[in-house]
């Protein structure tokens, strides 16, 4: 699987999906005009990656300072196949990173965490 690297813009996050290392990351802010267009290819790539059997643990690092509701849905769509893979035995960790004091992102992480039962969902507080 080719690594996906997309630079951050004002409205979209920096993407680095290093499939070979099993390390995926999203950083920045996410409120693209068309969230489906931005996240669609990422979701496809992730599904294709998970379809290939592998023992490599997956770490998905999310460090977003802001995301709109359609990005939230897109994140949910990315998390679902990961949770499914974890249910089938793959080691999956989602690192939800937020700045200390940023309760909006922290609460959003808590909401997402409730949907995971097989994958590890870690809330990582970062010092401001």
């Amino acid at each position: 699987m080719d690594r996906i690297q997309i630079s951050a813009t004002d409205r979209s996050p920096q993407v680095d999906f290093d499939f070979a290392a099993g390390h995926l990351s999203l950083r920045g802010e996410s409120y693209p005009e068309d969230a489906a267009a931005f996240f669609g290819p990422l979701l496809q790539a992730l599904r294709a990656y998970l379809a290939i059997a592998s023992e490599t643990p997956i770490v998905f690092e999310v460090r977003l300072a802001y995301f709109n509701s359609s990005s939230a849905k897109a994140l949910m769509n990315l998390f679902m196949p990961l949770e499914d893979a974890a249910e089938e035995g793959r080691r999956v960790t989602v690192e939800w990173r937020f700045l200390d004091g940023d309760e909006t992102i922290e609460e959003a992480g808590e909401d997402f965490a409730a949907d995971f039962s097989h994958a590890r969902f870690e809330l990582v507080r970062e010092a401001a």
Binding site: E29, Y31, A65, Y66, S70, L99, D102, E103, T104, A128
Partner: protein, 567 residues
């Protein structure tokens, strides 16, 4: 460029020169008009030198037409060379002639003297026949014409050769006295004439040679000059002119520097300078054109933007007219203040205030998207809500949200009928019962926050929004919360556009968040609600500090009015 034209022109000009027998005027090329038409320069005024009018040459010398450059050079230089050659040749011939004449005269004198001295005997005149042999010896000279022997008295004793008088300039005459011994009287006289005809014909030949030489020189000069001027001056200049013509029409051609014949250094330098100038002009012109295109595109964009903004401005009027009167709940004993500010004039935020059956209904909804698409969804929500309250008579907040969930999903065909959309709304609904001083709240993605003194309480309701497509087996669970409203308590329904304010710089850059918003509101509890809302709006802008807003924002703040003392 027209290298063929040049090679064609060359024999033509050569032919014209030879045909015209090397006359000064005819020798020059006369067809500048051909070149001018070939170069599409017919609009350039040119004197046709084919019929040389007075002053035409001067015009050419001033460079009014190019072909006359060779012509001018020829006319200026050739006469000088021709005169010099002619004068030199004739001078040489003259000097030669004089030398030969001098030699001939000396020869005649010598021959006469030798013969005279051989004859000079006393009494020679008695038998002049004795000396006939000596006299005959003179005829051995091929130039000999005549010889006459006279005695002391001048009587002719013997004559040889033709004595008839020839023209004097063709003859060289010599005389010698017959002297027997030095100091004695002459005994007679010998007169000798030799012909100078050869000398004259030689001199004539040389003169003709001089003229012919200068004519040949002229021809060679004309041909060489024209060939060279054409190849190294006119042809490059022509290329330059054609290029200038192209440039005049904004076709950015450069002059070829390595044509069939190299241009003279000066023209080469000019051509290079011209090419650099063309480069400069081209880039300048391209920049200008790009700028024009850019300006045009900008105008179009501005027009399009104006049109869109006008259209959206109209849409805003419609959306605003769908929203309720802010004083709709005045009769229910509630003080209400609203902040409704879409991100793009219209938006997906919606609120509803209505008094019905003695109850107050307060609803805040945040539909997916903002701008026009969001506004479409608010109209669907508004219509559905109207039907639920007025046609179906629902007064239970959780029941209303569950019903709204179904209606929106159906309306958007997100109920498994093949729609690709994934839209819905976050919604918070309060039913205010003034009699019981009680609020019944149901929320889906939208919380109800209360401030009561120092206590800030958030009732979050259901986590997910409503109206979205549902996964099989998924059930919406919306629960109702009831709370007693006491005087001094203020309640807030807000969309996440209120709390999602990005501000701060560097490592502290983050969203203001719910707590930040409540801190602002809590610190202005004593102010009237409308003032509180205005302060919040200003504070949010201050927090953003130039950062753009991210979303539509709506806040509905309400609290029981202070009880009239009369009651």
């Amino acid at each position: 460029m027209t290298d063929e034209a040049i090679t064609e022109a060359l024999p033509a000009s050569g032919a014209s020169a030879s045909k015209r027998g090397g006359s000064l005027r005819g020798a020059g090329p006369r067809r500048s008009s051909d070149f001018m038409s070939a170069a599409e320069f017919l609009d350039v005024t040119s004197n046709d030198p084919g019929t040389m009018r007075p002053g035409a040459l001067r015009g050419s010398a001033q460079g009014r037409d190019l072909d006359s450059l060779a012509h001018t050079l020829f006319l200026r230089i050739y006469p000088v060379i021709a005169v010099v050659v002619l004068v030199t040749q004739i001078g040489i011939a003259w000097v030669n002639y004089r030398d030969q004449l001098h030699l001939y005269t000396e020869r005649a004198d010598l021959m006469a003297a030798i013969t005279a001295s051989s004859i000079a005997r006393p009494e020679w005149s008695a038998s002049p026949q004795v000396y006939h042999r000596q006299m005959e010896a003179l005829t051995l000279d091929p130039a000999f014409r005549s010889a006459t022997l006279r005695d002391a008295n001048g009587t002719v004793l013997m004559t040889l050769g033709e004595t008839r008088r020839a023209r004097s300039f063709e003859l060289i005459s010599a005389q010698a006295d017959l002297v027997a011994a030095p100091g004695t009287a002459p005994l007679g006289r010998l007169t000798l004439s030799i012909s100078a005809e050869d000398l004259r014909s030689n001199a004539e030949k040389q003169g003709i040679l001089a003229v012919v030489t200068s004519l040949i020189l002229m021809l060679a000069f004309v041909l060489t000059l024209h060939a060279n001027v054409r190849r190294h001056v006119l042809a490059p200049l022509k290329r330059l002119l054609l290029a200038m013509r192209e440039v005049e029409h904004k076709r950015w051609v450069a002059v070829e520097l390595d044509g069939a014949f190299r241009a003279s250094n000066e023209i080469d330098v000019i051509s290079q300078a011209f090419n650099r100038m063309v480069d400069g002009l081209r880039s300048g012109d391209e920049a200008k054109q790009l700028l024009q295109q850019l300006e045009q595109a900008h105008r179009k964009l501005a027009d399009a933007n104006h049109l869109v903004m006008e259209s959206i401005g109209y849409a805003r009027r419609i959306q605003s007219s769908v929203l309720p009167d802010r004083k709709a709940l005045d009769g229910t004993g509630l003080e209400v203040a609203v902040l409704w500010e879409p991100l793009h004039l219209v938006g997906g935020d919606y609120f509803w205030l209505e008094e019905i059956d003695g109850l107050g209904i307060l609803l805040v909804a945040d539909c997916t998207g903002h701008g026009v698409p969001g506004a479409f969804l608010t109209l669907i929500v508004a219509t559905a809500l109207d039907r639920l309250i007025h046609e179906r008579g629902l007064r239970d907040p959780a029941a209303i949200l569950v019903a709204l969930d179904g209606m929106v999903r159906t309306q958007l065909r997100q109920d498994g009928r093949g729609s690709e959309s994934d839209d819905g709304l976050d919604c918070g609904l309060c039913i205010w019962d003034p009699e019981a001083a009680e609020i019944r709240f149901a929320g889906a993605g939208t919380a109800l926050t209360t401030i009561d003194g120092a206590a800030v309480t958030r009732i979050r309701g259901a986590k997910r929004g409503i109206g979205y497509p549902r996964r099989t087996g998924e059930h919406i669970a919306i629960e109702e919360s009831r709370l007693r409203v006491t005087p001094g308590m203020t309640l807030y329904l807000m969309t996440d556009g209120i709390t999602d304010q990005m501000g701060g710089a560097g490592p502290t850059r983050r969203l203001l968040g719910h707590r930040g918003v409540m801190d602002i509101l809590a610190s202005h509890q004593q102010a009237p609600l409308s003032e509180q809302v205005a302060i919040l709006d200003t504070s949010l802008a201050a927090y953003r500090a130039g950062e753009g807003r991210r979303d539509d924002m709506t806040l509905v703040a309400f609290r029981p009015k202070a009880m009239p003392r009369a009651m």
